[in-house]
Amino acid sequence: MTQTLTKISPSNHEFADIIHRLEAGGSMLPDTPENLMQIIGIYKAYAVPMDFYWRDLLYIAEKVFLNPLPFFKYFLPQEYLDLKNHYAGDTADLRVWRGCAEAHPELINFIEKGETIKGSKLFHHLWHDRINMEFAEACMRAMYWHGRDMGMGKFDSYLDSDEYKHNADVAIKAYFKGNPAMLGLYKLFPEMFLEQVRQLSYYSNLGLFWEVMCPVFYEMSDIYDEGGFKDVSDAMNFLVNGIFAIAGRPIYHHVYIDGKCYEIISKSKGFTWLYEAALPYVEAVFYRTSPFRGTKSYNAQAKQVPEHQKDFHYGILYADVFPVGSAGIPPTLLMDDMLHFLPDYLKEYYQKNCRGEDDQLIQLGITFQRSMYNVTSAVIQALRTALLYPLDDENPKHLMKNRQFFEAQMDRFKRPEARLKDIQNPDYR
């Protein structure tokens, strides 16, 4: 930072301190041991349910597909629990996590026993003693809905192409083969089915995105347990490096009908992980999403909801922690999912603050918010690396370009709902 500041004058931006920290290769999250402990702990707690999310998202996209009555779409078959992660285990294409490629043992244990008692899957499902896929689906829908508007990558526009429509048509007809009722419906309302397939393509997109993030978070947790990360920027840099290592991973949508694979979006289309999944995910889920249902009434006519989707600001970076703790909305369910897998050191930490065990959900929600600011910092740094100049560049003009980029990113947190200011304060819990 000192080096940068000597070459260009200090920023006058509202978040100048944070911008200077980013210019020094740091994160939006202040670099404290407490913050490091919190974010790594929550990455671990997030990774285990995420291990379920990505598997189930792919299961729904590939196998459940257009089942008109998908009652059992959250009942992950053994085949998908055993599905090998491409970034973990001995069979990995690129081994990010040193652990196993199959579902995490803690996840398997939880699926069997739940939080309450050992019982059938149906019992656990109805008792809500399960991993809540509703959160994953909400993220997927955010990506799908905002995808039309974000103008990022080529994945979304491809969903309107004739090629995609043809591939979807083949798959739909194959799936409903021998079912004249559904085929008749398809004949009558082709767009409705096509729209469902587009959504399923986003299931696949998000599933493939999280397949990567899951081992990344596991590995970060293991490194931290071994004393490997010294500070928050170490953790952020691990993410930045991971992003570049996996950036080219293909994003596709395959459907398996009667043992045959239908490539609705083939790997050869060249859609890549960074541009077609990671960046749209951050924009749609971290920044935008949509107002959470059931917690606050928004009056669109009174302009309480922004007119343009690009102005939406309901993502985790803006999230109000209290609606999170209220009704059964997706983020609450994520907090609930993470609660099952909190590392002991994080449990002890929550025990010491606020209401201890009684408000762990809120505390871990805020930790999650901190950790996502760190992930966003990694994305911002990755984008800067990809599009602009190194932080130690000698040319002041280049450094000024970087500065402008960082300032433009920080402008998004000027609105009052943004929690960037809050997370600077260690007492924000």
Partner: protein
């Protein structure tokens, strides 16, 4: 003997607390206070079980000649008018002990004053001698004054002096009336049994009754004699407010019935329409001013003024049903008000504010005060007279009983009870619902010790709302007997 125990046990407690060797923990003092109050509460429950429902006159009488030269005797007894209030006194003192939180400054004095208050109020309710009543009625002033002055809020000095001045004037007026009653009627003593006002001239009776009405009107308080109340209620600690509103104010309405209605039955008809008018104004004023408040404690204080107005309208109507409703309202209002102030005390302790503009989203299940909010909603419903809760029972009986005598006043009161719902909806909507403020909401948890009093009160409010006979059975014989002497007057007013 039981009545003497109820009277003297708390005073023994005062001595024990006073002479307890140092160093002494606050918890020890609280436990001693709790023990003595709990025993008196048990004794009052014992009285309830032993009370003969077939007898309308004073029971469990205890009599000792004390200072015959001035007509002052140690004369105790209870009837359906006083017994429920004695129970209420024990219960609310017990609740108040646990309404101030863990830390109490100068605990020795604090708990001693609590015991004194309990004993004083019991004494006033059990006294069968005008002067004996007055001793306790006046004795209350000092502990209450100290409670406000020492453990009060920012303006405690102002509030406590105002309280002292108003209630001292109240005491003086009542004393003047009592002396006039005894001297002009030529009674040998101040014993109730010896007093006979029938021979007094109409003007004398009117003047004496007016003195009583103003004296007790300050205590109730009635508009426009009420201005001490909002300041005292707001500045006093929750425990003191519970005792002030829950039981001390009832001494005013109790005195009105016991001495105004009972000693001057024929003059009552003259003042009844005026009383009904003042009662109605009090009800409307209380409700409307409550709506305008931003401080929830002040809102409940004004709500209390309004609810006391119902009692006055019922007393003015003086029918069997209205008087039954009036006494039932004393008990139910005491319970509901105590619950409201207890909960407001919890909210203030936990959030550090009583400001409607700052409080929000307390229903939040994780970081809010969900149980406190839920009980606050229940208490608000009870206060607004929602069926199934004790507030409905007493208000319904009052309206039913008063309508025949003062239909317009009663209808206005019914409308005003709707206004109760208005300000409680405002209060609940602002405090309990909405969104918690992210920056402020690091509230400590409500302790079990703080929850238990609220549970006890809420249970009683619900139970008596469903089984009102456990409230009215003790009151009915006495109020029926009281009204039997007034029936011709009622008919007269009704015919007018």
């Amino acid at each position: 003997m039981t009545l003497s125990l109820i009277l003297w046990l708390p005073l023994i407690g005062v001595l024990i607390i006073g002479f307890f060797p140092n160093p002494v923990k606050t918890n020890t003092l609280r436990n001693i206070t709790t023990l003595f109050i709990f025993i008196t509460l048990c004794l009052s429950i014992y009285l309830l079980t032993q009370f003969n429902l077939g007898i309308s006159k004073i029971q469990f009488t205890e009599y000792l000649t004390w200072i015959p030269q001035i007509g002052l005797n140690y004369s105790l007894g209870v009837d359906g008018l006083s017994l429920p209030l004695i129970f209420l006194n024990g219960l609310l003192t017990l609740i108040a002990i646990y309404s101030i939180g863990e830390k109490v400054e100068r605990p020795r004095l604090y708990y001693a004053l609590m015991l004194l208050i309990n004993s004083g109020i019991s004494g006033a309710l059990m006294a069968d001698n005008l002067l004996f009543f007055l001793i306790f009625y006046e004795l209350e002033l000092i502990p209450f004054y100290l409670m406000i002055a020492i453990w009060g809020g920012e303006k405690k000095g102002y509030a406590s002096i105002k309280f002292l001045l108003y209630t001292a004037v109240s005491g003086l007026l009542v004393l003047a009336a009592f002396l006039g009653i005894t001297w002009f009627s030529g009674s040998a003593s101040f014993d109730y049994a010896d007093i006979n006002t029938m021979a007094l001239s109409a003007n004398t009776k009117f003047i004496l009754l007016t003195l009583l009405l103003i004296g007790f009107g300050i205590k109730i308080p009635l508009v426009p004699l009420h201005t001490w109340l909002p300041d005292s209620y707001v500045e006093a600690s929750p425990a003191t407010t519970i005792l002030l509103g829950g039981i001390l104010a009832k001494l005013g309405t109790y005195g009105l019935i016991r001495f105004g209605l009972q000693l001057f039955p024929d003059t009552w008809k003259l003042v009844a329409p005026g009383l009904a008018l003042i009662g109605t104004i009090t009800v409307l004023y209380g409700a409307l001013v409550a709506i305008a408040q931003r401080d929830i404690k002040r809102m409940i204080a004004y709500s209390s003024i309004g609810h006391m107005g119902y009692i006055l309208v019922a007393c003015a109507a003086a029918t069997e049903l209205s008087l039954l409703g009036a006494v039932a309202q004393m008990v139910s209002h005491g319970l509901i008000l105590a619950l409201l102030f207890h909960l407001v005390g919890i909210i203030e302790r936990k959030t550090g504010t009583r400001d409607l503009d700052q409080l929000n989203g307390l229903m939040n299940p994780i970081r809010g005060l969900p149980l406190t909010s839920a009980l606050l909603i229940g208490a608000g419903m009870a206060s607004a007279g929602i069926p199934g809760l004790v507030g409905f029972i007493s208000e319904f009986i009052i309206f039913q009983g008063s309508f025949i005598i003062f239909p317009i006043a009663t209808l206005i009161c019914i409308i005003a009870s709707g206004l109760t719902a208005v300000y409680f909806v405002i209060l609940l909507n602002r405090t309990c619902f909405g969104k918690l403020n992210n920056k402020l909401a690091y509230y400590p948890q409500v302790l079990l010790l703080e929850k238990i009093p609220a549970f006890v009160l809420a249970t009683l409010i619900l139970f008596l709302g469903i089984q009102p006979q456990y409230l009215t059975r003790w009151i009915e014989p006495t109020t029926d007997h009281l009204i039997a002497t007034l029936t011709p007057i009622n008919v007269e007013i009704a015919q007018k």
